[in-house]
Symmetry: C2
Subunit: 335 residues, 2 copies
């Protein structure tokens, strides 16, 4: 079905084929996840050129015909023999590959797959729900406030608990940091004992799909004050989500609240991003994203306030867009 | 020093600036490792445009001036005001960024940083040695043949042991597989009990630098027979390494031995790859790589034979090129 949609898009844009190299796009369209490299060509008769190393798993997993990659020229010749003149590519294609194609084809970059992936199918949502359930169960089992190990060991134990609960791994590098490091949105857990406050941004991977949550455990009066602002921003943004609005409107609702309290310049990232096979997908709740929200999208809401040298607070949930926004999982914000 | 070399390369090629977006290239040149995105411009006065989220760590870590990224047009205007007309880019730059540059600059893709990174400095080699020491210590502590857990749990425990020994994490997804899955060069550990033979391909990350080793534990007569061929290929390739030879000559020595025994078509990958900040760097011991071997390179030797549906054997060590090739670490091949 996805392939049919893409063939229609290709026809409409007068392209005869679409080259995919991004692993999760190839997995999405064929069920085969490359391990080193692969070239997937969507055309009337789609084909994947797989590395010799991957032939066994590619033949096992792929719903699309597999051919062993030999050399680039062979692939170009095959495409020419198929009468392909206008070739669509992904915006993420690396320049060196583009360079090898541009003399033989008219090239145009297109987000055909991203467009398909924006709207999740029921089984994709189930996988994200299951990943979230695993991640939140592991978090409860970790029982972080009762522990006295170092940040890096606790981060590691959280991943171990996710795997024991059925995850294939973490969906991104776990952020489990404390003290003033919480003011770094992408801080790395250190071999140092937990201070306060504690910020945990973590997720599980299940069946290839990601989850993503953030919680901050606060202690002092000032930390509680900042927490309450972030919570208000988080809650009101989620309550506002519905099909028909634009993504940037949700970002604005979240951002306005933080600005009202005078921390606008300390909310230094977007309000949220879609997720699925990748941890960051489009669309996102950002200032510049005017994509119209649709049922079936799955997007995070994660406002934060970062006080450099002091501390930071971020609260994140993953939202399934239905008639309204539905929070996936059941982990409270206040722990 | 690296920046001076690149400025010379730029001048020679009549380019006025070099745009870097690859995280490890930016880390190599500035000591700052981006967490989401960054644009580094090497020119007379080098500058890095960092994400608002990274400003705190970028200012802390970078040896190059940091400016907060605002929008793409600002950066283009800054470059134009600096009189930059010919802009060099990395071959790995994504097409969508190239597209935003091509109307304003004459673009040429160059591997200036890869050229620098090919030859490791003494402290880089020490980091790779330390990563290898950690990984091999963890492997011994795992004592795999005495264990009865499932593949995925054992793979996880190996990573945990590496972290306990001082690694910041694994240098790539650990391959710890058994039985017929050993015939897949990039197999994923499963929630199933260990069968035989057992293949482990693992590495640690220390100070940003990677290690990489593979061992295969064999049991049956046929497995031993294949092991001995791979071992001969591994040993002879390593013994042949010396500055002045071409990389492809080492691949040929390794491959010829496996071919002599009639398994040439079952050696389905290159003999080795360089490593450093990335797990796969150039040059590699491959059929097509005619780079001349130099002192200071660090390259793996990892021949393998893969019998589809039966089993596979791969043996891998990391080699520091000095007057001859020196194996990093001291883990025996026969376990």
């Amino acid at each position: 079905m996805h392939i049919e949609n893409i063939l229609k898009d290709l026809k409409k844009d007068d392209n005869q084929a679409y080259l995919l190299t991004q692993f999760t796009n190839i997995k999405y369209i064929s069920n085969y996840m490359p391990t080193s490299f692969a070239f997937c060509i969507i055309k009337e008769n789609p084909i994947i050129y797989a590395s010799s190393m991957d032939m066994e798993i590619a033949k096992r997993d792929s719903t699309i015909e597999i051919k062993q990659y030999d050399k680039f020229e062979t692939m170009i010749n095959d495409l020419k023999e198929d009468g392909i003149k206008n070739l669509a590519i992904e915006p993420s294609l690396v320049y060196s590959t583009y360079e090898k194609l541009r003399d033989d084809f008219k090239i145009e970059s297109k987000k055909y797959i991203e467009k398909e992936r924006m709207i999740k199918e029921p089984d994709e949502i189930r996988n994200i729900e299951k990943a979230t359930e695993i991640a939140q169960t592991a978090f409860k089992q970790l029982d972080i406030t009762s522990r006295s190990e170092t940040e890096d060991v606790l981060a590691f134990d959280l991943v171990k608990l996710m795997i024991e609960n059925g995850a294939s791994g973490a969906s991104f590098d776990t952020i489990l940091v404390s003290g003033s490091d919480t003011s770094l949105p992408h801080a790395v857990p250190q071999p140092k004992e937990l201070e306060t406050p504690i910020l945990i941004d973590w997720g599980a991977k299940y069946n290839g799909y990601c989850s993503d949550n953030t919680r901050t455990i606060v202690y002092t009066e000032k930390e509680h004050e900042i927490f309450d602002i972030v919570k208000e921003s988080h809650d009101k943004a989620i309550n506002a989500i519905k099909p028909g609005l634009k993504c940037c409107e949700i970002d604005k609702i979240s951002r306005d609240i933080i600005e009202e309290y005078g921390y606008g310049d300390r909310f230094i990232h977007s309000t949220g991003h879609s997720l699925g096979l990748d941890i960051h997908e489009t669309p996102g709740f950002s200032l510049k994203d005017d994509t119209v929200i649709e049922e079936g999208m799955v997007i995070t809401v994660e406002p934060g306030i970062y006080l450099e040298g002091e501390f930071g607070v971020r609260l994140e949930d993953t939202i399934a867009v239905e008639k309204r926004g539905r929070i996936i999982g059941d982990l409270p914000l206040i722990l």
